[in-house]
Subunit: 237 residues, 2 copies
């Protein structure tokens, strides 16, 4: 399946104020395969050298940026728009009823274009802007100081949304194969006989086999167990 | 149950280089109820005005900071230490076998003090530093540019770990305590010396420490390792 057929993410920033945050966000956009960036009325030159400094090796993210005059321009064509706010579920305020960030992967579609909308560093999104969104979401850390810096809130949302996308570049982990596991079982048997410690060997086996060993790991452990049994058996002779 | 009886988090920064990142991290520490911050050899004045500017309303996080001379100082007394790296699962490199950040909540204990260890902005953690950790973890975004800025990586780890602090206990499991884990580390060291098999012992340590051992399990494993070392050492005499 091509990425184009999967979920696509447009990051929307409404009147961002800080160049450092914007640079960091360009970097995050590349880190998390953001497809498009729409910036409403930025309060600085988006090509400023400080922006590019903090973008690090993601300077080319700037090519994905479109500058818009209004939030409407940035979200009118998306499947679902998600607006973020630090203030949620205030009593009786229906505009601020919404979901916590960790619920988001369960409620957004697996295909199509979604917008993740973030407000100003200083004052967030206005009520008029919140009104334009399909879903409201917040980060609830359980702390008395719940307000994250803009680019760090962006990081958490991109991280959660990216979880549900297929990741074709994700590195393969090669899990341990049957014959090495069988060898490990065999050496554990030998150690059980040599030490008489059945409890210990059972516990060790359970722990080893529930740890999703990679090939280098189980190979290294198999060799270690082999050495241990040789040392023990040499002694026995 | 009081928060004090739940999982406690010590954030460990090894030779951080940037004041802006450090300020942001102080803010994140308050956002996510970090209990302690241990900074090894910072490359700037941690009370610099730029640090405090970016800490925003979390300037008091500085009171949780302890400056240390070595990584050992910051992790010697914790239940489990988790080192982070952008490079994971390189073929055959057993030191870099580890788990993805989203697996972390499943492998760390629900109680006690853990350390989350982050390296330098420029070069991360050295191999010697990685060797001191119980578990290695990485953020794999699936992007060709997988390297996050330091404070954004910190945000994601604190976010994931904080999730399990919020979670109500499903069932009471008694997790392995500090003194048994310390004894296991000690016997692993002895086995490493006796066998000369550093790779094997590193792999075994990673696997043991990411398996959420219960008290009966780690006690049984500790006794087994003790028996093994005795058998090996008897032979040596």
């Amino acid at each position: 399946m091509h990425r184009e057929e999967n979920l696509r993410v447009r990051l929307v920033l409404v009147s961002p104020e800080g160049k450092i945050n914007f640079g960091f966000i360009l970097r995050l956009a590349k880190n998390f395969n953001v497809n498009e960036i729409c910036v409403v009325n930025p309060q600085f030159d988006i090509n400023d050298s400080e922006v590019l400094e903090f973008a690090a090796r993601a300077k080319d993210s700037i090519n994905k940026v479109r500058v818009a005059e209004s939030l409407t321009e940035c979200i009118s064509d998306v499947l679902i728009s998600v607006c973020t706010t630090a203030k949620l579920n205030l009593e009786g305020d229906v505009l601020r009823q919404g979901i916590r960030i960790e619920e988001l992967p369960h409620v957004i579609p697996r295909q199509g274009l979604i917008a993740l909308v973030f407000g100003r560093e200083s004052t967030g999104l206005t009520r008029d802007e919140l009104r334009q969104c399909d879903i409201i979401s917040t980060i609830d850390t359980g702390s008395e100081y719940n307000v994250l810096n803009l680019s760090h809130a962006v990081a958490l949302y991109l991280y959660e949304v990216n979880k549900i996308r297929e990741a074709p570049h994700r590195r393969e982990v090669y899990y341990c194969g049957q014959h090495v596991l069988q060898a490990i079982r065999r050496y554990l048997d030998i150690i059980r006989e040599a030490t008489g410690d059945e409890r210990g060997v059972i516990a060790l086996k359970h722990v080893l086999f529930r740890s999703n060993m990679s090939i280098p790991e189980c190979t290294a452990i198999y060799k270690l167990l082999k050495k241990i049994t040789h040392k023990i058996n040499q002694r026995a002779k």
